[in-house]
């Protein structure tokens, strides 16, 4: 069975933006990959991954979403560091 590749867009803000040194990027991933798996690709070091995974939330297409939702072509994924508005 062929695994198809799809394009997703990632947006970064605040402390995560500073850590990665960029505001956004396009990634080609296997269809059905989850935000959790994408975060592991961004932070291959276990320590970094655990540290960020424990404090981030994830939004897909500007709505909060579960970490295990399979991603689709054209999805916009935002990893949301701890918020402090209001």
């Amino acid at each position: 069975m062929e695994t198809s590749l799809v394009q997703i867009k990632l947006l970064y803000f605040a402390s995560l933006r500073e850590k990665l040194g960029r505001t956004e990027e396009e990634l080609e991933i296997k269809t059905g990959l989850t935000p959790e798996q994408v975060l592991k690709e961004i932070f291959p070091s276990a320590q970094d991954y655990e540290s960020w995974r424990s404090c981030l939330r994830v939004a897909i297409n500007q709505e909060y979403a579960p970490w295990d939702r399979p991603l689709q072509s054209g999805d916009e994924v935002t990893f949301i560091p701890p918020v402090a508005g209001g």
Partner: protein
């Protein structure tokens, strides 16, 4: 005024817009920049926002507030960009027939904004390095 702005928030003008004659109670919350955080002296701060999502989240919260509380009007404005001590960061205003629901809706709204809005705050101190703030939610 727009939901998100980088201009100074005029809370007096915003409150003056809550004038429905069926409403006897008007409750507002004004969130300002204070000069201290966990014992450190704050010089200024910067709010950063994922603006399109903030708009979606706040619009959803405004609808939810109308369903949850028997209120007539509710408005929110949040500022982004660089703010000095004493400046208004966020304003919430509610009008309703009676005071009870106005108090409840206003408190609920500011608490939800704090939990849900994708807005981040970087504080700059008189001494030491700036920090991204993690909020402790009640």
């Amino acid at each position: 005024m727009e939901l998100i702005t980088n201009q100074a928030i005029d809370s007096v003008r915003l409150e003056a817009e809550l004038v429905d004659p069926s409403c006897g109670g008007v409750v507002t919350f004004t969130g300002k920049v204070r000069n201290h955080h966990q014992g450190r002296q704050v010089e200024k701060l910067i709010y950063e926002a994922f603006e399109p999502m903030v708009v979606q989240v706040i619009q959803r919260l405004l609808s939810e507030a109308q369903e949850k509380f028997p209120i007539k009007n509710i408005k929110v404005v949040h500022r982004v960009g660089e703010l000095k001590i004493g400046e208004v960061a966020v304003w919430v205003g509610v009008e309703s027939a009676h005071r009870g629901e106005a108090f409840q809706a206003c408190e609920w709204m500011i608490n939800q904004i704090k939990k849900q809005a994708p807005i981040w705050k970087k504080e700059f101190y008189v001494q030491g390095e700036p920090e991204w703030i993690r909020c402790h939610h009640e």
